[in-house]
Amino acid sequence: MSQQKKNLSHLGINRELQKKMFYSMLRIRRVQERIDQEYLNDQMKTPVHLCVGQEAIAVGACEAIEQTDYISSNHRGHGHYLAKGGNLKKLIAELHCKSTGCSGGFGGSMHIIDTSVGHLGSSSIVGGGIPLGTGMALASKMKNNGRVSVVFFGDGAADEGVLYESINFAILRKLPVIFILENNKWAVCSPVTTRQTSKNIFHRTDQDLLLTADINGNDIAQVYKTMVQAVNRARSGEGPSFIECDTYRILGHAGCETQDPKGYRELNEINEWKEKCPIKSLKQELMNNGFLENNEIEHLESMIKDEIDDAFAYAVNSPLPSAEDLHGSLFSE
């Protein structure tokens, strides 16, 4: 598997991988859309942060790593979770606050986990997952187990000083960690331009110390290729990378689309970015090259729909935690 991925870095991305990534992005998109549609039914009593428009980053990054590698995620984490291979039923059950949820109903939308695929939990403190992911890379380095760690965070998190501290340490210790800044232009209703004066300072770092890239995060080929480079670098002990992905948050900050307050951003801006949809562009490319047919897409859509229906049914039919569960696992045994 890793051999195959390595070869791809020389060959470019092959058709199978492209189709796999198309499917994976489409699946994340459809899951987000279903959550959005169902949200006002009040069955998911948890603040959801949807990642519509940003799927290429999660998928492109996670396709370049192995199941045993780690990711560290944030409040807008459904895409990271699914791209890494997290269990869909358990995600939807968690959104329904059920005992069968990935966090047993103790976490909710912002605190999801699937340790079986290297997802050790997401933080809803902006920037909080950055040092944790860095620490997982420290563990990999100390154990010499070859695992890399990928840290996803937003432009809001890049305001936080902990990013500076973490990258400094990652460089010092040549840690196998890849920092992925998803610059979606907004932190709630604050545009990045009112919070940061110029491009992130890490783009100016010596490339030997920190591989940096500033890429179109809606172009999955770019995300994947840059990641392969960063992963190779990490696995060969050369140290960390910092990849800024230009993207956009299509839906509101939290909740469903209709709950997004009006007036803080231009409709034009949203529409322009809808045109730059990463799924649409990959679909075009695949279809233009004759690699994907309409009936194949229909088939994928119906598979995904069935899977989502199943996941929602599973969630709805699952038991809720009860009073006896309250004390839960405050401490591990």
């Binding site: 047993g104 997982m136 696992s329």
Partner: protein, 348 residues
């Protein structure tokens, strides 16, 4: 697992003065150093980090020579970045390591609070026990020589308030080793708040590895008139006070050292108050909303009928620590304040 072979041992055979001939005596720092060294020896997932752990003085001697013995990969100095390094330690712990992160002073832990309180302390609960965080944080309260407002804070009350953190405050050479080993073995975040004055102690320390169960306090002095619950090095001052009170006033003081504040040995405290009917709590932290307030509430809630007199608390005043020595003298508590409080508790 290397840790399953280590025996639990909580009877300290020798405490303050009662020297047993032929027994090995160590200084406080030697004892802690031995615990760390043995843990590094038996478990390759253990590592020691912190600003200055490789200094010649090595955390008041506690981490001395560990880097020479175990290498710079496992014992290393850190950048002055307490927020990230706490998160990095926690992340490494989630991924299977056992970090021990040293800080000279608890004051610096304010910078680490996000990662301690929002992350390490909550990870097990928030994810239904799917991931544990076996992280040890150690910091040592300073006192005197003008340490002042930002180098002498006793923050145990703050940490005791946060669910998901275990909180340890040793007072003897024997305990500092055993409790450190228990902390490293424990799969949860553990904060050890030590005190600079404990470093004056010497005592019997077995060479073998041993752990001390969390939540088991000890009776440091048997007495019948009044219970004194004393935290960390306040145990030493309370013992001095008790001996003098016995000589001077024939007041017989029982001294309880909880050793860990979370979990807290409620039974031991309640049983002692049931016997004596009186309680004085001695803690060098602040009074309001702190450790002494918590222990007092515990006894009021669960042992009210045992009480023959109001509870007394001996704590530092609710002020930042002043630096000048004349002000320090009045700010800090010692055996005299303890004696006064005990007399008031007994005689009303």
């Amino acid at each position: 697992m290397p840790w399953s072979r280590i025996k639990t041992d909580y009877i300290e055979p020798d405490f303050y003065g009662k020297e047993i001939t032929g027994q090995r005596r160590l200084t406080y720092s030697e004892s802690l150093n031995e615990a760390l060294s043995q843990a590094l020896e038996i478990d390759s997932s253990v590592f020691v980090m912190g600003q200055g752990v490789d200094d010649p003085s090595g955390m008041f001697g506690s981490t001395k020579n560990l880097q020479e013995k175990y290498g710079a990969k496992r014992v290393f100095d850190t950048p002055l970045a307490e927020t990230a390094l706490t998160g990095i330690a926690a992340g490494a712990a989630m991924a299977g390591m056992k970090p021990v992160y040293f800080h000279n002073r608890p004051d610096f832990l304010y910078l680490a609070l996000d990662q301690l309180a929002n992350h390490a302390a909550k990870w097990s609960y928030m994810f239904a026990g799917k991931v544990s965080v076996p992280l040890v944080i150690w910091a040592c309260i300073g006192r005197g020589w003008g340490s002042g407002a930002q180098h002498s804070q006793a923050l145990q009350g703050l940490f005791m308030h946060i669910p998901g953190l275990k909180l340890v405050m040793p007072s003897t050479c024997y305990d500092t080793k055993g409790l450190m080993l228990t902390a490293i073995k424990d799969p949860n975040p553990v904060i050890i708040i030590d005190h600079r004055m404990n470093y004056r102690n010497q005592g019997y320390v077995p060479e073998k590895m041993y752990t001390i169960p969390f939540g088991k306090g000890v009776k440091r002095r048997n007495g019948s008139d009044v219970t004194v619950v004393a935290i960390s090095h306040m145990v030493t001052d309370s013992l001095l006070a008790a001996e003098e009170l016995y000589q001077e006033e024939k007041i017989d003081v029982e001294i309880i050292d909880p050793r860990t504040l979370c979990p807290l040995d409620e039974e031991l405290i309640l049983a002692s108050v049931l016997k004596t009917g009186r309680l004085v709590i001695v803690d060098m932290g602040w009074k309001t909303g702190g450790v002494s307030a918590e222990i007092a509430s515990l006894v009021v809630e669960k042992g009210f009928s045992s009480l023959k007199a109001p509870i007394k608390r001996v704590t530092c005043p609710d002020l930042p620590t002043p630096s000048g020595y004349t002000l320090e003298d009045v700010f800090y508590i010692d055996k005299n304040q303890i004696k006064k409080a005990v007399v008031e508790a007994v005689l009303g």
